[in-house]
């Protein structure tokens, strides 16, 4: 009973984390550095969703996606692009994104308070999956996340816009010399990535509510995912890593108290970094077609 329940919970939260990891990879591709401001974009989606409750489900989710897209693109256009124009290094951009993240997250705290803002939905009937049970909200959240991950994956694989994003992520200079509108493609990547992150934040808020610092867990997982998959390519590996981390966090409850769950993600991050310090160019994307 315990294991099947943890497996169901882990699958649901893993799929939402997978969606946020996919968004992070796209924002990373658009900005070309590790955007710590991702956590604030995630929270923007959550508050965007909670602020528009009562308008059904689709419209608030779209508004959350819009909030995420605007914050991802806006912070790049307003802050990071200026730094890149002046020749900032990836470290300086990462440090600046920490500044943006601190600013925005404290802004959320100032606007909405530190208390958990709860969603306004009734606890519906739970569904039985074998011996385990799952509520309607996490179930629908997982389905929406899965559909979006597959959709983004297919767009990137088969559509011209997606192929261009992959081309720019792979070799920006080559894409430019081939005549691709590189900046437009990067803006597209930021908007799509930001929208995915915003929706992921909304799905978490729909289930458990929102607090200003809720993006940190998603950020940790996304950092692990990008480090493992390699910045230049695989979306599927990033999504799989996000899913695996979400699952591992829930399954760890069988051995450790739930407040220690973050340790699982942190341990994964430190493990990957220790491995990478021995093999700086290592990533899973280099091991197969992404």
């Amino acid at each position: 009973m315990l294991w099947s329940q943890l497996l169901v919970n882990g699958t649901a939260s893993g799929l939402v984390l997978a969606l946020s990891c996919v968004g992070f990879v796209l924002i990373h591709a658009g900005g070309r550095f590790y955007p710590f401001s991702f956590a604030a974009v995630f929270t923007a989606g959550a508050y965007g969703f909670l602020g528009s409750q009562g308008l059904g489900l689709t419209l608030p989710l779209m508004l959350a996606g819009l909030a995420g897209a605007l914050f991802a693109w806006g912070s790049d256009e307003g802050v990071f692009r200026g730094l890149r124009r002046n020749g900032a290094s990836s470290v300086e951009l990462t440090v600046a994104s920490i500044g943006v993240s601190v600013f925005l997250q404290n802004g959320w705290s100032l606007m909405f308070g530190d208390a958990t803002k709860m969603p306004m939905h009734e606890v519906g009937e739970t569904l039985a999956i074998g011996e385990a049970r799952i509520g309607q909200v996490p179930l629908w959240g997982a389905v929406i996340a899965l559909v979006l991950v597959i959709m983004v994956g297919l767009v990137l694989r088969w559509m011209v816009f997606g192929r261009r994003i992959r081309a720019v992520r792979g070799d920006r200079d080559l894409a430019r010399s081939l005549g691709f509108p590189v900046r437009r493609i990067e803006v597209g990547s930021l908007l799509v990535g930001g929208a995915m992150v915003g929706v992921a934040g909304a799905l978490v808020a729909w289930d458990v509510g929102a607090v200003p610092w809720m993006g940190q867990t998603a950020l940790l997982s996304a950092l692990v995912a990008v480090t493992i998959s390699g910045a230049a390519s695989s979306l599927w590996i990033s999504a799989a890593t996000g899913f695996a981390l979400g699952l591992a966090r829930e399954l760890s409850i069988a051995w450790i108290p739930s407040q220690w769950r973050d340790v699982v993600t942190v341990a994964a991050l430190l493990g990957v970094m220790a491995w990478k310090s021995r093999r700086p160019d290592w990533n899973l994307s280099g091991m197969g077609n992404a």
Partner: protein
């Protein structure tokens, strides 16, 4: 001396020490760390837990714990370049915060732990913080221009070239990172002595970001610039008292101010050509 002036003196001294410690690792060797708060926290909790056996014992315990932590971080991550190192230290900072928040039996959890050193603790903190700041400033000035300093700058400018020339790059980076961690822990121990009560918030991600901001604001490779950055960023929020904001709001506004300062300072540094990191990202 009024309590407020005493508080400001200790605060400025402690943050100057933290900023100079950060300058040792980031400014001279290019190791941008986000776990400065964890090293600071080793000192804070060492004073809270071991202060009853004497201040000297607590300082040694804090310094030792931070040396161990820094050595582990450095040995496992110091080979990482640029932003990878930032991410590894970010993970470690979160691990430390989780640890001190959840080891409730030892640290008191989110509620914190009292520092039991008697009534003389605050005066001792005042004297020690000033002495520590003087010592660290002197050390920083003494190291300036030495063979050790030149080697660190060479590593910062071109690590591969320094390694090719047979210089002990890895050992030097570990040494500097551990030294920076130990100094931060001693500052933490002195600060705990002044506060009388320590909580996980004091040694979370925010102090790491603040130390980073102080370093970035200070002029590159000049210790006095880093000190000016620290003094400015400690005193700037004091101006918020004039606005009479609610305490939680003032905290948020202060952090927003630090975030803004961090971004603006980086932009100014880049425009002045005081850049850090070799992997440049240029927009056409």
């Amino acid at each position: 001396m009024s309590a407020y002036l005493e508080f400001l003196t200790v605060l400025v001294s402690v943050w100057c020490v933290l900023a100079l410690a950060y300058d040792m690792s980031a400014g001279r060797t290019g190791l941008f760390s986000l776990c400065q708060g964890a090293c600071f926290g080793c000192g804070l909790y060492a004073m809270a837990l071991a202060g009853k056996w004497g201040i000297g014992m607590a300082v040694v315990a804090g310094g030792g714990a931070s040396a161990l932590l820094s050595a582990v971080v450095a040995a496992s991550s110091v080979r990482l370049r640029g932003d990878d190192f930032v991410i590894a230290t970010y993970g470690l900072q979160l691990a430390f915060t989780t640890l001190v928040t959840n080891l409730t039996g030892l640290t008191g959890g989110a509620g914190g732990h009292a520092v039991l050193v008697g009534d003389s603790g605050r005066w001792q903190a005042l004297v020690l913080s000033l002495a520590l700041m003087g010592g660290v400033v002197a050390l920083s000035q003494r190291l300036w221009g030495t063979a050790h300093d030149r080697l660190l700058r060479a590593i910062n400018d071109d690590e591969t070239l320094a390694a090719t020339a047979g210089k002990p790059v890895f050992a030097k980076k570990v040494e500097v990172f551990v030294m920076s961690g130990v100094i931060s822990a001693v500052a933490g121990a002195v600060y705990a002595l002044h506060l009388g009560h320590v909580t996980p918030d004091i040694c979370g991600l925010n102090p790491s970001v603040l130390a980073l901001a102080m370093y970035v604001v200070g002029a590159n490779r000049v210790s006095w610039g880093v000190i000016a950055g620290a003094v400015g960023l400690v005193l700037l929020p004091e101006a918020l008292r004039l606005l009479e904001l609610r305490t939680p709001d003032a905290g948020n506004v202060r952090q927003m101010m630090y975030g803004t300062v961090l971004v603006v300072a980086i932009l100014i540094r880049i425009k002045r050509g005081q850049t850090q990191g070799t992997h440049r990202i240029q927009d056409a």
